[in-house]
Amino acid sequence: MAYPLGWSVRLQVVVRRERWPGGSRAGAVALVYPGQTVEPDQPVIRLKREERAEKLGGLPRLSLPAVTRKLPAIQPTQAHHLSDTQTALAVPALGEETVPAGLRGRVVDVTARGGVVIESQVMAIQGVLGAGPQVAGVLTLWQALDGGAARSIQQPIPPGAILVVPGPLSFLLLRHALNSGVVGIVASSIFLRDLEGFLHADLLELVNSPNAEDRQSRLPPLTIMLTEGLGSLAMPARLLQLLRCYQGRVALLSGFTSVRRPTLPELLISLTAAEAEALPSQKPDLALAPGARVRICSGDYCGRTGEILSLFLHRQRLPSGVRAHAARVLLEEGEVVVVALACLDRIG
């Protein structure tokens, strides 16, 4: 699956995202109106807590008409007032909660279910696999202590944060993060059994569900994005360095991964006007050409990144015996390997 934004990392791109906390929720009220400017920590939706025991008891009656319930609309003036007086990361009143924007930008639409579509100039990082609904939180770098995972889980984790873990995740670390009130986690990789064990879900079914969005909302309340995928791969140094620059900022994370509606997880960090001006605006080139940075997505070197040195003119015979168009790739570790073009994703 190609990265929907072209490359895995976009230093500056304008995106439109519907802010929606996941699932089918009754009683979502937009607190903003189209055209309004919002800040990342500003509440944009108010949710009533879901009451499952709906009025469906008893058998249906033949004469029941089809009724379309209209969403309660909010007036612009009223919404403005609310946005000024509430803060996103505050504890919500009993029976209702608010959803922060997560992005800085302009509201361009309010959807029928009460979601708020925001247009924003962001730095975007797309993962290769993830799980969990959209969440907003403060980007916090996990400082691993000496002694490995066993000791590192002793480190306190700030609640409400989106945690960046440079190395592979483990089941224990996920549990620790969940118990600490972290809302999201960005890590390089994890073993499949650990991820499925934590999610209590069959990941194959999850990404292949016709209604994947709904399924995501039934997962443990910790959104996960993996930048490298399954296994025990570390996060590339340049990606970690980039994330370090944005530490402490409010970011929007989505773990939603779907094969049916080709979607990958993403981390979006809104840029200030000054940042946007300073960063280069690039149109991602998807062509696999010499000099392109790529990730290998299958085979013995799966998950490794590198740079294309040259392309073969004719199809090459791979160790599998399959003949395919191929490239010579210089891996980050310095090794040069021949890889089928079909097994390469351009990342930059």
Binding site: L59, E205, T257, P319
Partner: protein
Amino acid sequence: MQTQLNQQEGQAAAHRKDAAAANSILVADCGSVLTKVSLLGLVEGQYRLMARGEAPTTLAAPREDITRGIAQAINEIELVTGRQIIVDGHLLEPEQPDGNGVDVFVATISAGGPLRLVVLGAASPALTDLVSQAVSGLYAETQALPSPTFTASMAAGQLTQPGATPLPGVSPLPWTPERLALEWRRQLDRLRELQPHAAIIVGMADGPAGATPIQEACQLLVNAAQEQREKTRLFPLPVLYAAAPQYVEASRRLINGAGEVTRLDPLVSASNLSPISLAASSLYERSILRRLPGSETLWSWSSASPVATATSLSSLVRFLAHHYTMNVMAVDAGGANTTLLLAGERGEFIPMVKAGIGVGSGLGELLKRVGSQHISRWLPFDVSDEELRQFVLNTMLHPHVVPSNQRELQISQAFAREAILLTAEALKAGALSNFSPDLILATGGVLAHAPRPAQAALMLLDALQPRGVTSLVLDRTLLFQQLGAIATVNPVAAVQVNENDAVTHRLGTCVIPYGTLPPDQIALRVVVEYSNGRQVQVEVMSGSIEVVPLRLNEQALLTLYPAQTVDVGLGPGERARAAEEIDGGLVGLIIDARGRPLVLPADKAERQARLLQWSQAIGA
């Protein structure tokens, strides 16, 4: 699947040359993973394949336009032929005096996912089976949601019948009002989860539950529409009404804005499936094909409405069976779907499309259906569940990847076997065992791109398990799926390209003895008389595979001497001598004496040794 031409299409069509007199034909097959484009042209008065190109199918961001993948594949053809076909993003039609452009463009599509159809009302297993049968030739998935009252009345009826087997998935607990309400809630959740493209209401209101199942079906749609008001894409849902005719108007009133009701003949038996097939086919075009990003441009390029790839392949298979008076079986092992088609010499036709089951994005569903043990049984090495699941997840997320090493290749071929097996099993009981194909056509990436022809042959023999004598043909050019669509605009071109270019990769003739094969003894003696007069005699042991050299374009006469309890198509122990010479192929004359049905040894070490032995014997 006829549609009205819009004005733009009409103008384009007016400028096109008469398709039957075309000098050049461009045909695109947009698969779930790859888009294949072939250029056909007149060479010395015969239509031939001139060039072909391939590119990833572009349906998702950042290239959300199906014609971009087609254009990329056309670029490959332009590079090879020097002919300009796309100018400023437009297809150059008709062919220009300088040789640029093409006269005719046609397309087939299997990308875009299946049509999800939910069966409501008195959806008994028998009626659900009939609906599945009606849509078996389409990329469609059916799911039954019988009305709670119908399920309760069926369960109650069964309770009163001594020895009756319980309904599948239905608990024997009594149907209290609370349980009915709970079932009602479950169905709403299920409907939300399924996200159907359309619903079909069935049942004749003559059972103990009367018209209630029909009412409940309508009510379910109304409630689901209310609940999912935000998902405007889903509602109003197209509703095919194939239930009791006297309640059609009442149902229409009840459903109101939640659905668009189309009345069909009531579904009562296998003899009236056509209206449902036609309606579902039209829905597929409307809900899937026409909604693909870039479909408007694609339609404007096309000389005939693009069709589903399975529909195109069906046309070819039926044509071949009719034209050559033989039984033809075709298998298409695709990334998202697996198709098996049987066309008999007397006009019989049985299609079976397993939508969502494939060797690319369809791997997840395949693994879920068959389980990891069914996959690992085809592998000559140990593999853990975790490795298989990781392989599946990675392939689903990157369906375009090719196997990099031997291990991945064998795993993907094991999945292909199971995808074909599952599809074959879905054919109506007995349809496959009573059908002895004279010719088996194989297409789809995993078969066509198998590094060795023998690997493709072994996959087909393992999965289809044919009996008697048959021929295997592999579609390495991936043209088969396109030929049916070509035939709709230029039948001559389809026939000539089929004979000249598509059926060029014969794998060989296969002899498959069946019946009771005597263990550790000779099952069959084969005498091969080559055209040059040389004679070879081979004795084949039960449980083994042998290959007798018979190269492509070589012919030989064949005489078969089966053991007393062994059959080669004429009855146990009956000697058979071919009336005509048989053809050779890339593999040769294959004698598969492993028995039918093929039983793999239960012991893992023995099984792995056997798999290696068979693989070496056939040259895989």
